[in-house]
Symmetry: C2
Subunit: 351 residues, 2 copies
């Protein structure tokens, strides 16, 4: 039982997706690289260092491959494993696929952590993978200064309907499936300015699978023209990437955007991550935030999410039916905006 | 040019596969886990926390998935990227497959490393992947205390001939395709007891792809009954796993085992890793080393390899033809022993 004494979040400097290398830095590195001509079967190769690649096995079978790993975002090792698994699988769901198998990416100081703690992290992942009918089939583990955990996940689509992030069409409605604010809340947990009890809503959200695919019909699947999951670069960063890739403009109504309890209070306390700043820098060129939004609303746009929801660009004729179904499983899901023809800005956040 | 001042190996405590979590510790953790019943399509699920999983897409198409990552084993970032890629792809080759696509696993202190260094690591990987006709198709990167790099690699077999590690048959010959000793040599590099010039032979070996599959015929492929790659657990550890899985006994002649230049000298200097000890502990129950072997020869059995060679169990009728072909590309390849019916020990190292 002594194992429980270690508070996972206190063993690291940064937690969860807030520890991601900033998008600007990543782009500078990628711009230095020389890539050979890619294979014809590689349909999506993450030119923007996307987390998911898509490889065409046959006309009817597309392989989706992704990986994600991070430092602890929560203190409970079992929950950490659940969140890491939901977060890693999310990229497969965001492509319109279903996960099938996963390998563990594990690093930890073996002299510090009891094996029981590591086993709980892995069990959390195994149990969440099971909900997706996916197997943990091995992995790689190294002795390291701090603990990190994640998964490389492989999935498939059952036909060639892919939700790439370049498919949004003017006229589409934008649906967000989970609330925002895990960045500031988990920072508050780490800084000890927020009591544990208050964060259950966010914990429940972070461990929840983004398996929208399991609750809609085939027709509705086709009516979703583009999708991405909201993680470390925040709603601003990921909507910016999607709008740019689709060559359209997004208008997002912040008054419709779902936010967890205590998020405003946490932001007012100053619970911020480095990513709040780097995400603002990254989206500086293409994202405009209306002057009517207050400081906290602005910060929510840049809040780095861990295991955040999906942002879907949906055919307006199908939007009502789809949001109704999604809301049964994802109570915080909302229509948050619309897709317009390409304009001066890529994303416009208004009240 | 200032970027070159950082010596990668001096930024970490342990290098390469020597940083792997010890096999005993890993088994203790895995034994605590509850796995659900695995899917029927998952043919190899790494019950021993293998690095590679095999998933049956169809009778004619098997997917192989693996991942590997580690701290720098060498100071040159481009070489580090090459070695990491060769090492990660090796698990696919060890299954009889060919790699197709890869995602990067990257962690580094962004305040310490110039972007140029990270770009060189990635370029080394991209260029080595290209040799295998595989693409780097994305990845995940985090800000961390020390640098780590690796790949999750997906490959396929073109038919259902898999080189699992449980297929060795009594009467088979054992072929090792690369020399041993990277553990002690890279420790010597790190401890500054070995000059850089002397290690070219090991560098060349570590960055070389284990693409035996590309130089043999289909018939010869079928004549290889089992394969594994020699990495962190050393020749003793990996041959032990293969012999146990195949329910046979290996006899390995140390006088035939290829070893890099300067390895004996390096061992005499005391250039050892923690893995030399943990590998000996791990194999304690099933590996017997003949009393006639001297101290250095014993240590070579446990030396943790980074991007080591393949250990192949080969039908004796095909052995001569196969070793002849392999030697053209892998000059240090040797027949190092034979497979016997199950006996008192799993592996017996003799002179």
């Amino acid at each position: 039982m002594g194992a429980q004494v270690i508070k996972l979040t206190q063993t690291v400097n940064k937690g969860g997706c807030a520890a991601k290398i900033a998008a600007i830095e990543l782009n500078e590195i990628i711009n230095k690289l020389k890539f050979p001509k890619k294979q014809g079967r590689l349909i999506i190769n993450g030119e923007q260092f996307d987390d998911a690649a898509v490889y065409k096995i046959s006309k009817k079978l597309y392989l989706i491959k992704t990986l994600d790993f991070f430092t602890p975002i929560v203190d409970d090792p079992y929950l950490f494993g659940q969140v890491a698994a939901a977060n890693a699988m999310s990229d497969v769901y965001a492509m319109g696929g279903r996960p099938v198998l996963a390998l563990a990416i594990l690093a930890y100081p073996s002299s510090v952590f009891e094996k029981q703690i590591i086993a709980k992290v892995l069990q959390g992942a195994i149990d969440n993978l099971k909900k997706a009918n996916a197997d943990l089939a091995g992995g790689h583990s190294i002795d390291d200064e701090t603990i990190k955990f994640g998964l490389s996940v492989t999935g498939f689509t059952d036909n060639n309907t892919l939700w790439a992030n370049n498919g949004a069409l003017a006229g589409d409605k934008l649906i967000l499936t989970k609330a925002l604010g895990t960045g500031t809340l988990m920072a508050g947990l780490k800084f000890k300015t927020l009591s544990k009890v208050k964060l259950e809503e966010a914990y429940t959200s972070m461990r929840k699978l983004n398996n929208i695919i399991d609750i809609i019909t085939k027709k509705e699947k086709k009516a979703i023209h583009a999708a991405t999951d909201i993680t470390g670069f925040g709603l601003a960063g990921h909507s910016y990437q999607m709008a740019k890739a689709s060559r359209v403009s997004f208008k997002i109504k912040m008054s419709s955007v779902p936010v967890f309890e205590h998020v405003i209070a946490s932001l007012k306390m100053g619970n911020l991550t480095k990513a709040h700043k780097t995400n603002a820098d990254y989206t500086n060129k293409g994202v405009v935030i209306d002057g009517s939004l207050n400081k906290e609303e602005r910060l929510i746009c840049f809040d780095p999410q861990t295991s955040g929801g999906l942002l879907l660009a949906v055919d307006p004729d199908y939007c009502e039916g789809i949001i109704k179904k999604i809301k049964r499983e994802f109570k915080m899901a909302r229509v948050i905006g619309e897709v317009n023809p390409r304009g001066k800005q890529d994303v416009y956040f208004c009240r």
